[in-house]
């Protein structure tokens, strides 16, 4: 599953790092780093993080109907 965080919006509340610590981590006091390609086993945690981000800064695809996801396109579906 792919994801991207709009770090202009992100306020560093660390909610995502709390809910999906294998995908998101705080680096220092308020900068967020994350893995833009989350493993399949992270699906549910990622979906919770997307839904729980207080500023809706996380966009993820491949979450199929999970709360807060913005697209349902399967991986690379419309590439070539």
């Amino acid at each position: 599953m792919r994801l991207v965080v709009d770090l202009n919006k992100c306020q560093g509340y660390a909610q995502c790092a709390f809910l999906a610590p294998d995908v998101f981590a705080m680096h220092g006091e308020e900068s967020l780093i994350y893995n833009p390609r989350a493993d399949e086993e992270q699906r549910e945690r990622l979906a919770r993080a997307v839904a729980a981000c207080p500023v809706q800064a996380i966009t993820a695809d491949g979450l199929d109907g999970m709360g807060g996801s913005t697209a349902s396109a399967p991986e690379a579906s419309d590439a070539r």
Binding site: M1, R2, L3, V4, D6, L7, N8, Q11, G12, A25, H27, G28, E29, E30, S31, I33, Y34, N35, P36, R37, T59, A60, D61, G62, T70, A71, A73, A76, S77, D78, A79, R80
Partner: protein, 463 residues
């Protein structure tokens, strides 16, 4: 423009997007979201689907992400024809055709140009080809650099202390590598944030063990007999031994492919109106060619109608959305792209964020926190108003200052703020270097004239 023509374009027109990266993808999604059902083609010279670049100098070098997997999530199905791995090589404006390097041609009813910028290479070609000399713009660049860094070089030399250079220095230090960084100006980040903040950035580098050399230029890269880089020569006659050199000298706009097309495109980007419509070389606006992202230069009402070129992630997204909207709607429904510039960076675990146009500011005030603690907000003023703000580990305030900038709030900032120290009571010169000196981005270029300057002698055309 007649409404039925627009209706026709929305239903069965052909839209071509050149540049399949952040701006290109977000534009494609917006077109579909707003009801475009015609044929959509995305042309990109890189062989990859659109991917995200900011992680390449951060998470990827810190081992949190693979540089091969930063592909952008899609916000929706875009049902597009992808032409990846082939550059557009020319544009025929009157025939409405894009030429591709493989000889193909693609016709359009509306065109969006989002070809971005590329890293400025080391100017001496033979030296630039030495093994161990790297640029950092693409996924391939990042993959190669990371591989080399993982092999444990003895010293990494970074040429240019802009945001990208500073981020690489920071990641290399976290990997435990020895780093030297050279900058022509007096401090890192001065082109983007001025000398007051640059001094803080300099302390950050040196305290974290970077051997920072300022007010010097690199004069030569020296290779060994097998073509590997081994040393860097500086203008102060010092020589630094290094086996990795990262060239971080800012960027060049990808506009060469438009040479001779008649579009107003050149080394400073492609000029467009506030609605993202490109100008031709006569300064006349086109109606079917649009521009978005790093390659665009567009006028902004909030900043005196200066033409802004922004190498900012958020700008690429917002401008792509506006351009896409305007491509398929009637004149009266078009929107101007008046996004307030904003970007972030992260170095040595410090979160740096900015809003507005700092290089336009002539003064700065520290309104929260203190420079010495490296936790502060600095507000930039220009002719009596707030024009920009920067925060180091204090990002929760930025939204407030964004609104101040948008309202044209007065400067110096008069209201009391919590956590304001004596040093922040008076504005001081923001200390930007001479704008004719090269700077490194992701940053802002102002390329309009101030109405107060008489820089041109105008000779009207005669008939």
């Amino acid at each position: 423009m007649p409404a039925d023509h627009v209706e026709w374009i929305r239903r069965e027109g052909r839209i071509v997007i050149v540049g399949a990266s952040l701006a290109g993808l977000r534009a494609a999604e917006t077109l579909r979201a707003e009801g475009f059902t015609g044929e959509l083609t995305l042309i990109g010279d890189e062989p990859y689907e659109p991917y995200d670049r900011p992680p390449l100098s951060k998470a990827a070098l810190l081992g949190m992400a693979s540089p091969r997997h930063t592909e952008l999530p899609h916000r929706r199905e875009i049902d597009a024809k992808w032409r990846l791995g082939v550059p557009a090589s020319g544009l025929d404006l009157s025939a409405k055709r894009v030429r591709l390097a493989d000889g193909d041609e693609v016709e359009y009813d509306r065109l969006l140009i989002a070809t971005g910028v590329r890293a400025r290479p080391w100017p001496k070609e033979a030296e630039a080809r030495l093994d161990g000399v790297f640029l950092l713009r693409t996924r391939d660049d990042a993959t190669r650099l990371l591989q080399k860094l993982k092999a444990g070089p003895r010293r990494v030399f970074i040429i240019g202390a802009g945001f990208a250079g500073c981020e690489v220095a920071s990641a290399c230090r976290e990997m435990g590598l020895q780093v030297t960084m050279a900058e022509r100006a007096g401090a890192p980040l001065v082109g983007a944030l001025g000398g007051v903040i640059g001094a803080v950035a300099a302390d950050l580098q040196t305290e974290n063990g970077v051997d920072l050399r300022t007010r010097v230029t690199v004069t030569a890269l020296e290779g060994d007999t097998s073509g590997r880089v081994r040393a860097v020569h500086l203008s102060d006659e010092s020589v630094v031994e290094a086996d990795v050199v990262v060239v971080s000298l800012g960027s060049l706009r990808n506009t060469e492919w438009l040479t001779g097309s008649g579009l107003g495109a050149g080394p400073r980007g492609i000029a467009c109106d506030a609605g993202c419509r490109a100008f031709d070389f006569r300064g006349i606006v086109t109606d079917d060619v649009f521009v978005a992202g790093d390659v665009a230069r567009s006028p902004h009402a909030l900043f005196g109608y200066q033409f802004l070129s922004l190498e900012h992630w958020g700008n690429a997204v917002a401008q792509a959305e506006t351009a896409a909207h305007n491509m398929i709607c009637r004149g009266a429904d078009r929107r101007p792209h008046l996004w307030t510039p904003a970007f972030w960076s992260s170095q040595f675990r410090v979160n740096i964020k900015s809003v507005g146009v700092p290089p336009m500011g002539d003064q700065i005030m520290i309104t929260q926190g203190s420079l010495a603690e490296r936790r502060f907000v600095g507000v930039y003023g220009y002719q009596g108003r707030v024009i920009a703000a920067v925060s180091f580990d204090n990002n929760r305030w930025l939204e407030f200052y964004r609104r101040q900038i948008e309202r044209g709030a007065p400067f110096p900032v008069e209201f009391p703020t919590m956590d304001r120290r004596p040093e922040g009571r008076q504005p001081v010169p923001a200390d930007f270097p001479d704008p004719s000196l090269p700077t490194h981005g992701p940053t802002v270029t102002l390329s309009g004239y101030s109405p107060a300057d008489q820089q041109l002698v105008f000779t009207p055309a005669r008939h």
